[in-house]
């Protein structure tokens, strides 16, 4: 009458067999690197065939050389540091403020139009002000990153807390649960899928914020490096920097997806965006 959904058991088999089987089941594991190789080969061929100057468009080989010869670690860590500090600030403020706003319906109703107005304003446009107020150091970039990352978190925290299943609230009311018990036991855990979706957007936005801040005025960081290389017509260097940036982005995304899967093992997997 009743069945338990067990996870499929993996049959043990020789390594070569299981590899072949895996590739058969997931051909994209082979196709993803194949696309990369194909793009690189065609790109390299076009550059060489038409003899396009390196300062207009570098070949993949030039980019690879620039990647190896230029030290990116320092700049990458600097930018990553700014972005992560900004992200943490945004996460703490976004979750706390979102939690408070969602607890008081009047506050929510009063503030919501303003939040929407601010969210729809491009925060990048405010960045020059932060440079003016907080200088060329790390602080201004952290604040720019935090500002940009803050709103997707805040909005998702509020709508996540607001969309609590009424049946769960009724259950808690039938037990005469306090406001705090309802918040910690039902509302907050139930809002986690939405909160994680916000954090996922925010962590990428925080890198964007750090780079924009560095464009506007900075002495270090990958954004600063791109500006300098652009001035020196070091196009290969710019491409190499972009490569580093996208690698950082992918790593952060994977990290968030990992945390999400750990924290939301119970949620309907179709609701969790995966890589």
């Amino acid at each position: 009458m009743e069945s338990v959904h067990n996870s499929p058991t993996v049959a043990s088999s020789p390594a070569s067999f299981s590899l072949r089987r895996t590739l058969k089941a997931r051909p994209e594991l082979l196709l993803i690197p194949a696309v990369f190789v194909a793009v690189v080969v065609v790109w390299e061929a076009i550059i060489r065939f038409f003899e396009i100057p390196i300062y207009i468009m570098p070949a993949p080989s030039n980019i690879a050389l620039a990647l190896v010869n230029t030290g990116y670690l320092d700049n990458a860590l600097y930018t990553l540091g700014e972005a992560m500090l900004g992200f943490l600030l945004a996460a703490v403020f976004g979750i706390v403020l979102g939690g408070l706003i969602a607890q008081f319906p009047l506050a929510e109703k009063t503030l919501y139009p303003y939040l929407i107005a601010i969210q729809t304003t491009p925060k990048v446009a405010v960045a020059p002000l932060f440079i003016m107020w907080f200088g060329f150091g790390m602080t201004s970039k952290v604040i720019i990153a935090a500002t940009i990352a803050f709103f997707p978190i805040l909005v998702n925290v509020i709508s996540g807390l607001r969309s609590t299943d009424p049946a769960r609230l009724e259950l808690m009311r039938s037990l005469r649960a306090t406001r705090w018990q309802i918040f910690t036991m039902v509302r907050l855990p139930g809002a986690l899928p939405m909160i994680f979706a916000g954090l996922n957007i925010a962590i990428i936005f925080s890198i964007l914020g750090a780079i924009v801040g560095e464009f506007l005025g900075s002495r270090k960081g990958l954004g600063n490096a791109i500006m300098q290389m652009n001035v020196n017509l070091d196009t290969a260097g710019v491409f190499a920097t972009l490569f580093v940036l996208s690698a950082i982005g992918v790593c952060l995304h994977l990290l968030m997806s990992f945390l999400q899967r750990k924290a939301l093992f119970w949620a309907d997997s179709s609701r969790i965006p995966t890589v």
Binding site: M1, E2, V4, M172, R173, L175, M185, W266
Partner: protein
């Protein structure tokens, strides 16, 4: 069982009732629920209803959809305020959800991030009961509902019937004397539903609780109940109160007996005269 009677007119004497049946678990007098309409008028949703449920009784409430069965249950449990009348649970006037009531809803309403046993323990946590002894009790309740081996499973690993059993165990963790169930098996398939009905009767006999059970199935109402309250169309009033005099130990085969058919016919005729079939 047959001596148990339910007084439905408003001018009943509680002493007389108690003398016959022992103490009453729930006493409802002239209960009404009205809603205000947007143009300032009032709509009568329910009542007036007067009824007494004896301790240890199993009252099923049956009626057409929209007649206010669920509203009546929410009123009795104190989840929504009444417009008039009085509700006494174990002699105390009900104004808010009562500590001595366990609720089972139409859907299991389990928290998907908690295991079965943690879900059962939720009321104990909310009410601040001793967790060590509650944990022992939670495991006993899971044993009782036949889920001894599923304590550490998450809800999405359990079937619909199993989830509803967890919900029943949860409603009993704080040892309430009254269990209120709002169409708890409505979403289950017919086979599972019959098994759950048998389980519920077994649990009721074992735990000795007073049960109020809302359903829209006439056979389910007769099969489970010691008393069946038939509600009329909106505004829901008591159209009939049937005392079911069938053996307490009953199996599914009782549904094909003549006695069962007589009850079924009586309730169905109420439905017919009301014009809601």
């Amino acid at each position: 069982m047959s001596v148990m009677s339910i007084v439905r007119d408003t001018s009943f004497s509680q002493e007389a009732e108690n003398a016959v049946n022992g103490p009453a678990a729930i006493v409802v007098e002239a209960l009404e629920k009205t809603y205000a309409t947007h143009d300032g008028g009032k709509v009568q949703a329910l009542g007036p209803i007067s009824v007494t449920v004896p301790q240890g009784g199993f009252m099923t409430i049956v009626g057409p959809s929209g007649c206010g069965k669920s509203t009546l249950l929410k009123l009795l449990s104190g989840l929504i305020p009444r417009s008039a009348g009085s509700i006494k649970v174990n002699g105390e006037e009900v104004h808010e959800p009562h500590r001595d009531i366990g609720m089972v809803f139409q859907s299991p309403v389990l928290l998907p991030w908690k295991t079965a046993i943690e879900n059962v323990l939720l009321p104990a946590r909310v009410l601040g009961l001793d967790m060590a002894s509650s944990r022992v009790r939670a495991q006993e309740l899971l044993d009782m509902v036949g889920l001894a081996d599923f304590a550490n499973r998450y809800p999405n690993e359990l079937s619909g019937g199993m989830q509803q059993r967890v919900a029943i165990a949860r409603s009993l963790i704080h040892d309430p004397s009254i269990l209120m169930m709002d169409e708890p098996f409505g979403a289950l398939d017919a086979m599972t539903r019959e098994v759950m009905n048998l389980e519920l009767l077994r649990i009721w006999r074992k735990a000795g609780k007073t049960v109020i059970f809302v359903t829209h199935s006439i056979p389910e109402a007769i099969f489970l109940g010691t008393h069946v309250m038939v509600l009329s169309n909106r505004p829901g009033r008591i159209a009939d109160l049937v005392t079911v005099d069938l053996p307490a130990e009953r199996g599914l085969d009782i549904m094909s007996t003549d006695a069962f058919g007589v009850y079924s016919k009586r309730i169905r005729s109420q439905f017919n005269t009301q014009g809601f079939i």
